[in-house]
Symmetry: C2
Subunit: 356 residues, 2 copies
Amino acid sequence: MAEEGAEVCNKQIIFRDYITGFPKESDMVLSSSKMSLKVPQGSKAVLVKNLYLSCDPYMRNRMEKPDKSKLISQTCKLCSYSFGSLLIGFVLLGVAKVIDSGHEEFKEGDIVWGRTGWEEFTLLTELETLSKIKYTDLPLSYYTGVLGMPGLTAFVGFYEVCSPKEKEYVFVSAASGAVGQLVGQFAKLTGCYVVGSAGSKEKVDLLKNKFGFDEAFNYKEEPDLDAALKRYFPEGIDIYFDNVGGTMLDAVLLNMRLHGRIAVCGMISQYSLDNPQGIHNLTNLISKRIRMEGFLVFDYIAVQPKFEEQVHRYLKEGKIVYVEDTVNGLESAPAALVGLFTGRNVGKQVVAIEHL
Amino acid sequence: MAEEGAEVCNKQIIFRDYITGFPKESDMVLSSSKMSLKVPQGSKAVLVKNLYLSCDPYMRNRMEKPDKSKLISQTCKLCSYSFGSLLIGFVLLGVAKVIDSGHEEFKEGDIVWGRTGWEEFTLLTELETLSKIKYTDLPLSYYTGVLGMPGLTAFVGFYEVCSPKEKEYVFVSAASGAVGQLVGQFAKLTGCYVVGSAGSKEKVDLLKNKFGFDEAFNYKEEPDLDAALKRYFPEGIDIYFDNVGGTMLDAVLLNMRLHGRIAVCGMISQYSLDNPQGIHNLTNLISKRIRMEGFLVFDYIAVQPKFEEQVHRYLKEGKIVYVEDTVNGLESAPAALVGLFTGRNVGKQVVAIEHL
């Protein structure tokens, strides 16, 4: 138990106002408030010191006015951030250390992961997403990525939504990102031919030399995406793992093979547009009998134990690798979030508050 | 066996040239040629007199230049019509009577269905699609529709692609057409709530009063399709059976429920457009975890016997009804095909050459 009455100044990132278009650093503001480092007497809450925080594209959609939100709808059971609230994630967003606990399952010093906030200390009262970290023999920050939500997203998106088979042709967009880099490696482990697209030479090199993609290209240097895909997939594409939507999706539709599958994981190119781009090539769904399926990771939480065990083993055996882009300090978080939409990050974007 | 040497003048519809845009009557021409009413000696061919011919939207796509075809691609194993060739279908296109046969499975007088041509008499040399008609206690023309390809399309599209459950909300576009009218009735038999859209008051009345749809509306009288769908589906749509694509599909995406399914059967609104309309609301696939799947009936030929038995029983028991729009004479066929694209037909479009 922490010392009675100890008070700290808790730095927080506060969401300033609803946004339209691209998020800007000025949409978020660094604030601070006094906070006791002890859970209230009789409470079952848990007080944590945040160590690593996740930074994900979906957060931008929660900064829109609820009725204007294109991705987040009432029926989706997600809600937008309240005006002036902390930026928080809906699942598995951070890694933290327990400072004080009123709950029997957690004690001071435990390393945990789950829903926390973009702040130094968080008093957690809803504990359903909180878990003690099982594997501490890998970087703890991995629970914001490869062993956390993005990892599970890649795992279920590829293995469950894409129904992959050996020797199939797989294309991944935003392939060096938190999810994409794993999808490509899962596809290689399955015996597929894998090509990824990314937005810089550095990322393309990473895909080919670090993640083992068969080929990779910089979409910014391809004025004709259809022609680029025909070059990399003369036989066509069996599986497209879509992280970007828009013109890339439209070009992919022209290059799909019979009975192809498109897992729609994200459409980062569209989130900040007032009028999303039109997709013109959907008649290919019919002639090629394509299944196109959107998914959200929290429908698959039951898969987490199996996923965690398997991916931990892959990491230990060196069968998969993971690249993070870490910024230090909460004050760096807004720029890191904004940077996701310009492709500034190389690998999974993490905000480290304290390295452990 | 027919009389040795008997010759007739065989009327045929010939495809004049590759088309762009909407098909016109002048794209097809009535021609005729002399023909022997006997199969060549030693041949295993079957000579038939055509009775009922089918008239389907997909035929238009086969009139495009192969490399320009938006729906029909190389990988699809369908090919465009050859320049100056007969208009033929790829499966189950007509009902006919055997005049002469060199094949042991067929004899003079047999009533058959399968791939035939838009002509009075056809000499069939490839017999893999030809079958003797099993149920002759219903109109023979039903084998161009409810018991033929459109029926099987509705059957597998609804039961296999849509995975329907009782009490789900089902929307069908082009709902009075060859396929749509059956989808709606299958949905009612499954215990779903069903709404259909069509393009005239007469069709809307048919949907409500003849086919038992819960509701129906004339899309031409709805300037705001999103608002119309919200009126008919305040709880949203679980299943959309898409026959039209375009703006209707875009509006539907805004109104889908969580884990909804979209069976993409056709996009008749798009086939004649040089630049298909853009679909802007695909991010809903993610937030609502929607599966959108294109299909073609000939992947499901194995289901035909089960389908035929079940739908024949439904028809005999009066559990489903079927409406055809029949024009008489081969010379009426081009106008009938063109009319599909302006919604002239009410129900399945059939061309009767000889009523039996």
